[in-house]
Symmetry: C2
Subunit: 312 residues, 2 copies
């Protein structure tokens, strides 16, 4: 445990900056559990950050994101890069964030001290997955991880937002999925810096590529970048080097600075939301819910009164 | 537009309670745009609510939720029931909530004055899909809609939460999807009051049913309900009557009252979050983001100062 004295936090910060893996693991847990000391630690670490490259990886369930992450880890490790992985999993709010099937493969890296993997489930109504991902990224950056892979499961707004708050965002698609997936593609077209068509040995990969190109022909990005489309079979390592090369070509292209400001703008909103909501943990929601269900009052009047009580 | 005077709000409320479709549409738009008058209107309408049955429908993209909703509308209309539909679509945050492919089918009901359909996209960082869904449900309830179908696209926590805030929750699955979907199933097992295996003419429907039953055999619900599993081919109307019958069997079983309290407890949290965050719209996130990106300050100190400034 982190001690709450300033000296203990400073000592912990020094251990993390020196790359101590056990201190890193303890700090990650403190962040996940929202310990007040974690915030002090992050303040101390922050000036030492800004060197890590954050790669966001998103896409529909079953697209093979974890297999791609696994291959990226292998390649980065073969270059002696220090790697951090944050696997965001808001889809199992009721099971406590068990490690998912595909992710078991990533466990093979757990024995490698150059790789730090943390799986993060939801925090309930207090939300804060984006805020917590930011905090963990700050921690991993300070701990000397040169690349942080942020993998988000699911296709909701939260997960898309989290993946977008990276230096480069990879959208993983697979051939032959249904109508809704086509619609999702429309929604994530604008956040993809690199498209990966995984399971590209399945029928429909070429058609999917044509569809992406057709969408790209309809509009150009403000920065002029045309996201490359890479075909992979991630479980067999096919095309994954090309996918990582495409990621790097975008990083070379992008100045980084402007994106960092835009990302911090978004992250600040998430972090503010998290911290604000913690102030309201003392309210008697249950009694109010009973009064509302019985129509003794209405939710709008209730919330007005609460906000006045706390803010004014 | 709703006028801001109290009399105008009362007049609008009277029109809605009388079932005026145009007043309903204007009020729905006012709610979506967070007009201050909308809140006053909802306060006036709330005492007249509590009669509508809310059916939540969730499941992975491509599962055929919209086709199922379409069939439910048909059947409810054949019984002369007034129907409201809220289609929650957080997956296209950047396209402004265009109507999705499958949903086009639902448009056939737009000419029917007994059906009111509203598609809702994200509201950006202010979030609030669950809060807005609640507001729209209150409105539709007050307007005399006897059944409100809430369809959520996507599989993130938000969408699951929204579907869960219904009187009965239908989880739509399809045979033959990948590993991640199995994991999602584990996450949504606990929220399903009724399982629908759609596209059940595809291979794997029986295996999927066996898997659900196997999960059900591992744990029993606190209320003792064993969620029925219904096979459908929604696009052809096969099994959809049975699915609706299963929904009704759960509604008969459940007292409703206890669930209403639990739901309001959750909804209050969402609504409080929405309204609270609106207070912070005046902060200069952009300047703060620039300072943080340049490491002139850190996000933790920035947020501490903001919260102190506004709350204390």
């Amino acid at each position: 445990m982190i001690q709450s004295s300033p000296n203990a936090v400073t000592s912990m910060a020094e251990q993390i900056l020196a790359g101590d893996a056990r201190a890193l693991a303890r700090a990650a847990t403190a962040i996940e559990n929202r310990k007040p000391e974690a915030e002090e630690l992050l303040k101390e670490l922050f000036p030492h950050t800004g060197r890590a490259t954050v790669i966001g990886i998103t896409g529909a369930p079953g697209a093979g994101k974890s297999s791609l992450v696994d291959q990226f880890i292998r390649e980065l490790r073969s270059e002696q890069k220090q790697v951090g992985v944050i696997a965001v999993d808001p889809t199992s709010p009721y099971t406590g964030g068990a490690i998912l099937g595909d992710r078991v493969r990533m466990l093979s890296h757990h024995a490698d001290p150059g790789v730090f993997i943390r799986s993060m489930a939801t925090r309930g109504w207090l939300g804060g997955l984006a805020g917590a991902t930011t905090d963990l990224t700050v921690l991993l950056d300070a701990a000397g991880k040169e690349v942080v892979l942020v993998e988000t499961v699911g296709v909701g707004q939260d997960e898309v937002d989290i993946a977008r708050l990276a230096d480069v965002t990879v959208v993983v698609l697979v051939p032959g999925m249904g109508d809704d997936v086509q619609a999702i593609k429309a929604g994530i077209m604008e956040i993809a810096d690199v498209f990966v068509i995984n399971k590209s040995d399945q029928p429909g990969a070429d058609r999917l590529q044509r569809e992406i190109k057709a969408m790209q022909s309809l509009s150009t990005r403000a920065d002029g970048w045309v996201p490359p489309i890479v075909h992979t079979v991630a479980t067999e390592g096919q095309g994954t080097s090309q996918a990582l090369a495409a990621v790097r070509s975008f990083l070379d292209f992008a100045s980084g600075k402007q994106r960092a400001v835009a990302n911090w703008n978004m992250r600040l909103r998430e972090m503010l939301r998290d911290r604000l909501l913690e102030r309201f943990s003392g309210l008697d929601f249950e009694q109010a819910a009973r009064d509302i269900a019985a129509r003794r009052t209405d939710p709008y009047t209730t919330i007005d009164a609460w906000i006045r009580q706390i803010l004014d």
